[in-house]
């Protein structure tokens, strides 16, 4: 994906007009921030942040038995998700390693819409294609190139969207709804989902309509937020990030090549995993010993160099127990250091050390995210 010039989303000109600091993110040219990461983070928690997440993909699965078909590949019990609800799931490979995570919407018992991560669109397309029934009963469509996705997140998201699209264009948490008649003439669909831990929406619209809605939401008071704050927002809530906290396929080189090759037990996220149904890769998920590495949070109990990805974690006696995959000062917690990583032999409340710099190991406590 990252070969050649990065892809610009349909909102590229809007980002330029807002003087955004643009970076190459998985082959997409996207804002890392507009004003300042901390301000954008706090604005999302306090009012409403607006994100361009068009780099993420959009797949449609349809067919009479689409729910039971998808369930055979998913850690989530898809058949238990009634329309018009959304849910979170993992997809594991034949060895049980996590390929990608995804939020999907059950539009009807015969139609599901799913959002693969940016760098995994091609991989997931191949994975689903490979598992389609040979009788042609399930259809798979890739809507990614024609669909723009915005996330409007925060306590004022509902008021802002109502002001722009009318009150009937609202969905509750983890629900799906087509966008109905509205003053802007925008089409598409809404999901009561996102990756900040705040109430709000992900809004799916055709590329040619997205700038109109983006500008209307900014004019109504939404704060544009870049990928930098998106990362700290999701970290405070303990949400996994594809390519950062897990990686597929496993990296080929280096002594820690397999460190990010994990399954849904190890990632330790308390939703999206159902063991009452059969799915590809389940054998690995159910085969762990209690003291195997799992994804645990750590929160600093003293000041020190910050807990960045890759920093090792030890017990107080110096025994190495793992390393962080994500970490940053938490803007909502007065910039105290928080991190998450794969750690062995720990439980909630244990005291550990983060080897944050060659000169300083910092005391931290093991916690189960979210951090707030």
């Amino acid at each position: 994906m990252s070969e050649g010039a990065p892809v610009r989303t349909a909102l590229y000109q809007e980002h330029v007009a807002l003087n955004a600091n643009l970076v190459d993110f998985h082959g997409f040219e996207l804002p890392i921030w507009y004003s300042n990461i901390k301000q954008e983070h706090l604005a999302t928690r306090a009012t409403a942040g607006l994100f361009d997440v068009s780099h993420m993909g959009s797949f449609r699965f349809s067919g009479k038995d689409v729910k039971s078909w998808l369930e055979g590949l998913a850690t989530q019990k898809v058949t238990a998700v009634a329309p018009p609800r959304c849910a979170y799931t993992h997809f594991l490979d034949d060895d049980g390693l996590l390929i990608d995570d995804m939020i999907f919407a059950v539009v009807s018992d015969e139609e599901i819409l799913g959002v693969p991560n940016a760098s995994m669109i091609d991989v997931m397309w191949q994975w689903f294609s490979k598992h389609l029934p040979s009788d042609g009963s399930i259809q798979l469509e890739n809507l990614s190139d024609a669909t723009s996705i915005m996330a409007l997140q925060g306590p004022e998201a509902k008021a802002l969207l109502s002001a722009v699209l009318g009150e009937e264009n609202h969905v509750g948490r983890f629900k799906w709804q087509a966008i109905g008649d509205n003053p802007l003439g925008v089409t598409g669909w809404l999901q009561g989902t996102g990756y900040t831990g705040e109430a709000g929406y992900e809004i799916f619209v055709p590329n040619e309509e997205v700038s109109t809605l983006w500008r209307a939401l900014i004019d109504a008071g939404a704060v544009p937020v870049g990928l930098g704050a998106r990362d700290t927002l999701r970290l405070e809530k303990g949400f996994l990030l594809s390519g950062v906290d897990f990686c597929w396929p496993p990296l080929a080189e280096g002594e820690n090549a397999s460190f990010l090759a994990r399954d849904s037990w190890e990632t330790n996220v308390p939703f999206g995993l159902d063991l009452e149904h059969e799915f590809v890769g389940k054998h690995r998920v159910v085969g762990h010993a209690d003291d195997d590495a799992r994804w645990w949070g750590i929160r600093y109990t003293e000041k020190g160099p910050l807990p960045r990805p890759g920093k090792e974690v030890t017990l107080l006696d110096g025994t190495m127990i793992g390393a962080l995959t994500s970490g940053a000062p938490a803007p909502s917690l007065e910039n105290i250091g928080i991190g998450i990583g794969y750690l062995t032999h720990v439980k909630e409340g244990d005291e550990v050390l983060v080897v944050a710099s060659p000169r300083k190991s910092v005391k931290a406590v093991v916690v189960r995210p979210p951090f707030l």
Partner: protein, 127 residues
């Protein structure tokens, strides 16, 4: 436009130096603090530590990144701004004043004259 006081010396790494007797005071420039955004931690050297020219003597951390600060010239630390441990934001608020980082005694005090002037630095950052 960032603040670039005339009387200071500068480096390409966005540090400023003020000559005080046979010592220099070192900090980061207004341009640097603006680019780093909110500084949330600084790992300071110890009083008496010696550094070579371009030796890494401190690390400044913002929300997304950790940036090393290099000794502009060889010398020995004679004072450290301990206030930054509790208030690293002083580097954002007052980069040329309360946000100073260290004092240093240079191995070769003459070397300071080879550093960039305010005009040189202004050209360097394109202002």
């Amino acid at each position: 436009m960032s603040q670039i006081p005339e009387e200071l010396y500068y480096t390409k790494e966005h540090e400023w130096m003020r000559v005080e007797g046979d010592e220099i005071v070192i900090g980061i420039t207004d341009h640097a603090q603006d680019a780093l955004t909110d500084i949330v931690y600084i790992e300071l050297p110890g009083d008496g530590d010696s550094f070579d020219d371009m030796g890494e003597f401190a690390i400044v951390e913002s929300v997304k990144s950790a940036s090393p600060i290099f000794a502009p010239l060889a010398g020995t630390i004679t004072a450290v701004n301990d206030a930054l441990e509790d208030e690293p934001e002083l580097m954002n608020q007052d980069p040329y004043g309360a946000g100073w980082i260290v004092r240093m005694k240079l191995e070769n005090p003459e070397a300071i004259t080879g550093m960039m002037s305010a005009a040189d630095y202004k050209a360097e950052i394109g202002e």
